[in-house]
């Protein structure tokens, strides 16, 4: 293991290159999916089911067809037939079955977005409605054991005899935590412009996190060769996981364009995004921690219950965090799933770790109190020597360093652990801490690199910049690997005809793409070297593929770590919670661009704060779906909800990761934040909130 570690100072941020696309984005020149100029384009708008389960018995489109500007109404009766794919949510308009409220049951194409919407309003759908079941309950009789949990982890794991170890433990904590349905809500809705060429090729401007897979799926659905599908994703307005796979917008737009013989734009409405683009499953999590009186874990059991749809099994890996964060000689983790009449859940920033850390890190705080130990100290005492389940050494593990450095910077030392005793006027004041972690992974990618006789290097790969700054960071990586200034590097990304690459997801974008670029640069430099630097007129070109090295099994457990410290103020009378301070200290391997990296971490922590205090899809028991399906009712943190959020990192060198030496930073920021807030709320008020979000009604009249 490599040694620590000096905190990176703010001047690293100041020194980092500014983003290459910054100018386009502040002047309104950046083009998103439905903004590329296309001739003769029309608009589509979906009609969604108003019942949660049943069959469509009749779709009366006569009024819609008579609406001015309406060109076509597609339903399961007349829509083009689609080919097979793994994602049942993409079999749109293929059957009369309704699997959840908000599912697409018709699509109206109009000359303008107004006429398409007016037409959609005029479509009359009749249903044979069946009784629906939309409420997650750990005792649901249909709970089952999924085959695996996302993206391929074992469903259950067990080491030793955790039940006996728990039963005989001197200190026992047995608590159940819940997290609600949460929605990604990137600010750019899922959107596509689709047009068919006379030669049967399909061109798609689409908002996604990686179009290599999108092109493949579209080819399968429409019976095309992959090379007949061209997906362009120049600028993407965020994704947070929800754009990691193709979504209904792209399929519907392509179908509509096929049906009407004209290019079609489809930008989902914000309301559609509550049911059509995935979401984070609600979770119920039972934690049992058994420890010695001095806080050393003897048993750790994390049982999870969560939901999926009747269309597809998506099992969030909620308990995987409990497999590696702390030492314990006996442990068990389990996941159970129930198929409800709801949309299929999917990836939302740090699937697994985000909700899982709320439960585990709240439970650790409760255990610290039960053992009369400082919560930082408790975590230090349970630091494992090796990955507890695999027995592999960690490639680097600086959790303790993050905790210590954070504690020092935050002023944690003077903390009086007694809950509910600090008051500043109307405010009860408290502080809390939680650990963060996220796997450091790399996926196969290719990069084509060429050098011209002018010495300019062109780098081409199907990476995408969904806002993270990858365009900037990859340019830096290429320049460094070629030993050239950044202005001698041209980068082309965001186009499915470029060499295939990993999606911007799983905190694996930069590590995967950067590795392909570094490998390509080595090959290219070797080629140039063999010619003694003489570059022929038409240049030199190589294509690097990292599949082999990425697939090689590593002897190390590879994870990023961090610690988050939080101060809250809770209004003693109204229960209003404010977060004046949130500090994250991370160890994420090499940081390529301090400016964009810091923004990612702060953005992730802010989403964690939002998860802690605001975000809740309220299940509509009567009608299915969420009650609050717009941004008026589903709250995300706004300017005034955020105060001093700061993120920094420790210098960490880790050669066992990938060719870039980075661990990925897109997700770790949201991991642990909600627990840090809840722990601080407990410290402030004496009230332990085990259910997110920490609503006023969960605080008032308790404690």
């Amino acid at each position: 293991m490599n040694d620590v570690v000096r905190p990176v100072m703010q001047d690293a941020v100041a020194a980092a290159p500014t983003r290459v696309d910054g100018r386009d984005k502040v002047t309104g020149r950046a083009r998103y999916a439905v903004e590329h100029p296309v001739e003769d384009v029309v608009w589509a708008w979906p009609v969604t089911s108003t019942v949660a389960k049943g069959r469509v018995t009749e779709i009366d489109a006569s009024e819609a067809n008579g609406t001015e500007g309406v060109i076509a109404v597609l339903t399961h009766a007349n829509a083009p037939r689609l080919g097979e794919t793994d994602d049942a949510e993409l079999q749109l308009l293929q059957s009369d079955r309704v699997a959840y409220r908000g599912q697409v049951c018709a699509l109206v194409v109009g000359e303008t977005v107004e006429s398409a919407r007016a037409g959609a309003d005029a479509v009359r759908v009749r249903y044979d409605e069946a009784e629906h079941d939309v409420v997650l309950d750990a005792r649901h009789p249909a709970m089952f054991t999924p085959e695996k949990v996302n993206p391929g982890f074992p469903t259950d794991t067990s080491i030793g005899d955790p039940d006996t170890a728990f039963a005989v433990a001197a200190v026992q904590l047995d608590a159940t935590y819940t997290t609600p349905t949460e929605h990604n809500h990137a600010m750019e809705p899922h959107a596509t412009t689709a047009s068919w060429g006379a030669d049967g090729t399909l061109t798609l401007y689409d908002s996604n996190q990686g179009s290599t897979g999108v092109a493949r799926v579209m080819a399968d659905l429409f019976g095309l060769q992959v090379r007949a599908v061209h997906v362009i994703s120049e600028h993407v307005g965020g994704g947070f996981g929800s754009k990691g796979t193709p979504r209904p917008n792209i399929v519907l737009a392509a179908m509509a364009a096929q049906a009407v013989g004209r290019p079609v734009r489809l930008a989902l409405g914000r309301q559609h995004m509550f049911s059509l683009v995935g979401y984070r499953t609600p979770t119920i999590q039972r934690l049992r921690l058994g420890a010695t009186t001095d806080g050393v874990l003897r048993s750790l059991v994390h049982d999870v219950w969560e939901q999926t749809s009747t269309l597809d099994d998506f099992a969030e890996q909620t308990a995987v965090i409990s497999r590696m964060l702390y030492a314990a000689p006996a442990r068990r983790t389990t996941h159970r799933l129930v198929r409800l009449d709801v949309p299929t859940p999917s990836w939302m920033r740090a699937p697994g770790e985000a909700p899982g850390s709320f439960a585990l890190e709240s439970a650790m705080d409760e255990l610290a109190a039960a053992c009369d130990l400082d919560p930082v100290e408790l975590r230090v005492r349970n630091e494992p020597d090796v990955d507890p389940e695999s027995g592999k050494p960690f490639s680097s593990r600086n959790l303790v360093a993050c905790l210590r450095e954070g504690a020092r910077r935050f002023g944690w030392e003077q903390r009086d652990p007694t809950p509910g005793v600090r008051r500043d006027g109307r405010w009860l004041v408290g502080t809390g801490v939680a650990s963060s972690t996220y796997p450091a992974r790399t996926a196969p990618s290719q990069a084509r690199m060429s050098i011209g006789s002018d010495g300019v290097v062109t780098v081409e790969l199907n990476a995408v910049d969904i806002g993270t700054g990858s365009r900037t960071a990859l340019t830096q990586i290429a320049a460094e690997a070629m030993d050239l200034p950044t202005d001698r590097v041209r980068l082309r990304i965001g186009d499915s005809t470029l060499p295939p690459a990993m999606i911007a997801g799983g905190s694996m974008g930069l590590t995967s793409w950067g590795s392909a670029i570094v490998k390509g640069a080595r090959q290219l430099r070797e080629l140039v070297g063999r010619r003694d630097g003489a570059i022929p007129e038409d240049g030199l070109e190589v294509t690097a593929d990292t599949a082999e090295e990425v697939r090689a099994v590593s002897g190390y457990a590879r994870h990023a770590f961090g610690a988050q410290f939080c101060e809250v103020r809770v209004d003693a009378d109204t229960g209003e919670v404010r977060v004046p301070r949130l500090l994250g200290v991370f160890a994420v391997g090499r940081v390529i661009n301090a400016r964009t990296a810091r923004s990612q971490l702060v953005g992730g922590m802010t989403m964690g704060l939002s998860m802690a205090l605001h975000e809740e899809g309220v299940v509509d028991v009567q009608h299915g779906d969420n009650v609050n399906h717009d941004l008026a009712g589903y709250h995300i943190a706004a300017h005034a909800d955020v105060a001093d959020v700061d993120a920094m990192w420790l210098e960490e060198h880790d050669e066992h990761l990938n060719l870039v030496g980075a661990k990925g930073i897109g997700e770790i920021g949201i991991v642990g934040t909600a627990a840090a807030v809840a722990n601080a709320v407990h410290h402030a008020t004496g009230v332990r909130v085990r259910d997110l979000p920490i609503r006023v009604d969960r605080l008032l009249g308790r404690g």
Binding site: E188, G238, A638
Partner: protein, 155 residues
């Protein structure tokens, strides 16, 4: 159809529009000002913010016919020259990631400074509460507005 006359980013436009047409769709689909994006459907996100006769409005909450006879400034027409100080500050401070909220955020921030040239951090946070950003955590946005204020960014 209603005939309207609107000056958009200094360019005079005369168009027949349906009364139901939202200003944002008029700007994007008729005038071609696609730099102003749409982020929601309920006037909550602020992505579509433009200036209508010098005041910031959410252009998804205004009908095109209501802009008849008015002057509209979008992000594309904000700069008088190469950069508006607010645009520059947003770029310098890295007050953006995906950039989707950015046009609206900048337009709202310019209006904020024209009402209050030297806002405190809290006044900035309160003043921009109608503009959501899912990426940045807002921190750098506040810094950008402060930088623009220091450089007389109301102009």
């Amino acid at each position: 159809m209603v005939r309207i006359q609107v000056t958009v980013d200094g360019q005079r436009c005369e168009d027949e529009v349906e009364p139901r047409l939202l200003l944002v769709h008029y700007l994007r689909e008729r005038v071609g000002k696609v730099g102003t994006p749409v982020g929601c459907d309920t006037s909550n996100c602020g992505a579509c913010t433009v200036q209508l006769d010098g005041r910031s409005v959410k252009s998804c909450a205004v009908l095109a016919v209501q802009a008849d006879g008015s002057e509209v400034t979008t992000i594309e027409g904000l700069a008088n020259g190469e950069w508006h100080p607010m645009q520059k500050a947003f770029k310098e401070c890295h007050a953006l990631q995906c950039g989707y909220c950015t046009p609206g955020m900048i337009m709202a921030a310019v209006d904020l400074l024209s009402n209050n040239p030297n806002p405190s951090e809290e006044e900035i946070r309160d003043g921009l509460e109608g503009n959501l950003c899912r990426c940045t955590g807002y921190h750098n946005i506040v810094k950008a507005v402060q930088m623009a204020a220091a450089e007389g960014g109301a102009r």
